[in-house]
């Protein structure tokens, strides 16, 4: 176990090293940070002086070594835009992203398991077909569009009146398909401070309303995938011998479905899920931009727009770290629920 964790630690360091080298190598293509820092009419001599001061004129290797030595001391440099240590900036934006990912994960689990299981048990029911149809649509609509449509319907409101409004039934039908909006269209509102840089939206109903639309649009990518995955796995498990045997033995269908079958269904789902949580963090860039959710994704996009190279490098390294950590956790959990898997690779 300890050997496994140490191995993963080296793994994480290696990932971060590779990411930092790549990020440094491409920095020249990310634009000139000086242009973002000074006004348009600033003379070239001033720009040159600033460039020199920031060490941007040094050769690649010198710049990288300076960065690497500092990074070894947990000093990742100063953000050009925020004028603060990049780690502080990232840590300040991290809770917002983690909360969004947590809310999304909750939505996905709460919806995909019952729906997936139901459509496996009753594959021919019209409700199952409906879910499968919707999930195809869900997969194929870009997050950006989902988000904009959600904002229009639930934040701004839409009023349609295809039916005659002067009749009772027409007005009722019109009302049914129209919305008055009212959901917050952007941001986190006034999150409650917990400790350090962590401010939470989970503490009040008001805070939760801010989470609803961003979490739904972020979930819209992963949810269909998980419903389909759970359904397929469950269908397979239901064909297996031990389920047939259990049925023959007269065990109640409920117990078969939710205890024996579901447990084995979840094994591959957890593997995929762990990897997807990392992907979810990446997708937050889009969702956070549309909803102006003040998390790491929005911060990263701003950093790219302003060529804030130290912040870009730090973000990429931290996201790399998050990937390694979630994968490690998944492996640990996998070991717990499937004892035949040995983490260290030694024979059982």
């Amino acid at each position: 176990m300890i050997a496994f964790l140490i191995k993963r630690l080296f793994h994480a360091l290696l990932v971060m090293f590779v990411i930092s080298v790549i990020a440094f190598a491409i920095q020249d293509n990310l634009g000139d940070p000086i242009q973002q820092m000074v006004g348009q009419s600033v003379p070239e001599s001033e720009r040159e002086a600033l460039r020199e001061e920031l060490g941007l004129n040094d050769p690649f290797l010198v710049q990288y070594l300076r960065f690497a030595v500092n990074a070894a001391h947990f000093d990742f440099g100063y953000s050009y835009v925020f004028n603060q240590p990049t780690t502080d900036v990232v840590l300040r934006h991290l809770p917002a992203t983690l909360e969004l990912v947590a809310a999304t994960t909750f939505l996905i689990i709460a919806l995909s398991v019952p729906i997936g299981v139901y459509s496996a048990i009753k594959p021919r029911a019209w409700l199952s077909r409906f879910f499968m149809g919707v999930s195809i649509v869900g997969i194929s609509i870009p997050v950006f569009l989902t988000a904009i449509v959600l904002i229009q319907i639930f934040a701004i409101g839409v009023s349609w009146s295809p039916f005659p409004a002067d009749t009772g039934w027409g007005a009722w039908l019109n009302d049914l398909i129209s919305t008055e909006g009212g959901m917050p269209a952007y941001g986190r509102g006034d999150p409650v401070h917990v400790f350090g840089t962590w401010e939470t939206n989970f503490a009040s109903l008001e805070g939760l309303t801010y989470l609803v639309l961003p979490a739904i649009s972020l979930a819209s990518i992963m949810l269909p995938l998980f419903i389909r995955l759970i359904r397929a796995e469950m269908l397979e498990v239901l064909q297996s011998d031990y389920v047939k045997f259990a049925r023959a033995k007269g065990i109640s269908p409920r117990r078969i479905y939710f205890l024996h079958a579901l447990k084995n269904t979840m094994l591959p789902v957890i593997t995929v899920g762990g990897v997807q949580i990392g992907t979810l963090v990446a997708y937050t860039i889009l969702t956070e931009t549309v909803f102006q959710w003040p998390g790491m994704g929005l911060m990263f996009l701003d950093a790219i727009e302003r060529s804030d190279i130290p912040l870009i490098v730090t973000y990429l390294m931290i996201v790399g770290l998050i990937f390694v950590i979630t994968n490690t956790l998944v492996d640990l959990i996998y070991g717990l629920i499937n004892p035949t898997v040995k983490l260290t690779g030694k024979p059982a």
Binding site: L30, Q35, Y80, I151, E180, G182, Y210, M299
Partner: protein, 545 residues
């Protein structure tokens, strides 16, 4: 939820309340509805007028000398006061300076307002003005435009004398950039032993996170990239100001669609800029109003004479100018959100020459090309940003298509601004796009940066990516810059515009319009202006009934 945070919306606005609470029971809404009703019942804030506004970005620093940019100037006008400022008709209006007189050709004496206090409680005196001008001359961003100033000195507590190196006609224009800072507050050493007055682009300074000005608002809370909260300065000297906003919450919303949605959904009361694609949508909304104005930022293309031999021929450059249909671009591509231009100076500037009109004439263009011997055209490269100006990439495509009609083949590349600026510095393409706003609100600025013969020593022609050089024009502009007679000076600058037009030094396209939008109860018109720094101190928000 918005409701708990805002006084104005909750106090006497039952309709607004209703708007937030009554969501129709659609599939999802029934779940949300339960959550929202209870949120709406939370205690209301005290009765104060709050303006929630969203810009595309928040100020990068609280140090108003760290960067010369629109965002910083907007901040300056909220938290500081300039010595003088522009009114809506581009005339100078007294603020902290109450009067001024020229002592001689190079000296201006200004009388300062008495009984003005900084946010810190310190009294505003001539010493603060002198200190601020000296700091401006140290600021990398401002020192270039303050170069003409030799020195400033305090004559007495409330009189200051500004000396220029040469007779300088634009001293009052410069005074709009002098926002006196609290010299006592910004002097001494901070906790880490650094001078509090330090200006730095890198690393945090005292001034980048602390602010004391004389302005209508104080900064009470700031989370960079998330929100800035301003509260009304109770001791504000300008009692004539009609402004009644007690609190401003500024949120940066960089995504255009979201900014508009935030306004339409009632989450914010005031947004800028309004993206051109959403102008109609905002205009037609019953709860919002739109204010647009002809801007002062000229959008144009360079033709690099160093890279392309034919561009050295005046007839070719003119042919290009004749081939471009500015009105078509402003009409169709910009949907009327631009004013077609044939010169740098917008209306209201001294150098604006009313005779110069866009000259689209395809036949004439073809004829000129033939005369120059380029009937069959040639190939050029073109670059433009794709996220800097309104519709920048589309404009470049339209120009490329128009040039194809005079047989010029354009190899177009558009790129994000972060990358584009570097390419522009390297003069990486034959035709490149730029938008320019004169920091001095004066025509001479255009010629100094864009058409002056490039000289790395003096910094002249820093943005002359055409490599156009006309000593006669340079002489005219230099003379205008020491001409104190306003009328004569205007004539000289108009003559300069004519030369640029006749020489077709660059291809003018249009002045980009400006747009702001707000709730109907926000009285926007009186406080917005072509410089695009709304005087929010004077903003009136009417009570909703």
């Amino acid at each position: 939820m918005v409701i708990t945070t805002v006084g104005r919306d909750t106090d006497n606005n039952p309709s607004g309340m209703e708007r937030h609470m009554t969501i129709k029971k659609t599939l999802l809404a029934s779940v949300i509805g339960a959550a929202m009703t209870s949120a709406a019942l939370a205690p209301a804030a005290q009765a104060e007028t709050t303006l929630r506004m969203a810009y595309d970005a928040d100020p990068v620093s609280l140090d108003i000398h760290q960067q010369l940019s629109g965002g910083i100037l907007q901040l300056s006008h909220m938290t500081f006061d300039p010595l003088v400022r522009w009114n809506k008709d581009l005339e100078i209006e007294p603020r902290l300076a109450t009067g001024w007189e020229r002592v001689d050709d190079t000296t201006l004496r200004m009388n300062l307002r008495e009984d003005v206090e900084f946010h810190s409680g310190n009294t505003f005196t001539a010493k603060d003005v002198v200190w601020t001008i000296e700091r401006l001359k140290r600021s990398p961003d401002f020192k270039a435009i303050f170069e003409p100033i030799e020195s400033a000195s305090a004559v007495d507590e409330h009189t200051v004398e500004i000396k220029t190196k040469k007779p300088y006609p634009l001293l009052l224009n410069l005074a709009t950039y002098i926002f006196p800072m609290d010299s006592q507050f910004y002097s001494g050493e901070d906790e880490s032993g650094k001078d509090k007055g330090t200006i730095s682009k890198q690393g945090s300074t005292y001034a980048s996170s602390h602010l004391s000005g004389t302005g209508p608002y104080e900064v009470t809370d700031r989370q960079q990239g998330v929100r800035v909260v301003f509260e009304r300065n109770d001791e504000y000297w300008d009692e004539q100001s009609p402004g009644n906003v007690d609190k401003i919450e500024l949120t940066p919303i960089s995504e255009n669609a979201t900014r508009v949605a935030a306004l339409l959904s009632g989450d914010v009361d005031f947004i800028a800029p309004v993206p051109p694609n959403d102008l109609e949508r905002v205009r037609e909304d019953d709860n919002a109003k739109l204010v647009t104005m002809t801007g002062t930022r000229i959008i144009y293309f360079y033709m690099n004479q160093d890279r392309v031999e034919p561009f050295k021929d005046k007839r070719v450059r003119q042919a290009f100018a004749y081939a471009i249909n500015q009105e078509g671009i402003a009409d169709r591509l910009m949907k009327g959100f631009a004013t077609p231009a044939a010169q740098f100076s917008p209306e209201g500037y001294a150098g604006h020459n009313p005779e110069l009109k866009p000259r689209y004439d395809l036949e004439k263009a073809k004829q000129l090309m033939a005369e120059a011997g380029y009937e069959d055209g040639f190939e050029i490269t073109m670059m433009a940003p794709n996220n800097r100006y309104v519709n920048d990439a589309k404009i470049a495509q339209a120009i490329a298509a128009m040039l194809a009609r005079i047989n010029v083949t354009v190899d177009l590349k558009t790129l994000p601004k972060a990358q584009y600026w570097g390419e522009l510095d390297d003069r990486a393409a034959d035709m490149m796009m730029l938008g320019w706003h004169a920091d001095t609100e004066d025509s001479a600025n255009f010629f100094e940066y864009m058409t002056a013969c490039p000289d790395p020593e003096t910094g002249a022609g820093q943005y002359n990516a055409s490599n156009y050089c006309n000593p006669e024009l340079d002489k005219l502009v230099a003379d205008a810059n020491v001409e104190l007679d306003k009328q004569k000076r205007a004539e000289m600058l108009q003559q300069a515009e004519k030369i640029v037009y006749d020489d077709a030094a660059v291809i003018m396209l249009h002045w980009q319009d400006l747009a702001w939008a707000a709730d109907t109860n926000v009285d926007l018109e009186p406080i917005v202006n072509v410089m695009n720094f709304p005087y929010l101190g004077d903003l009136v928000v009417e009570e909703e009934d």
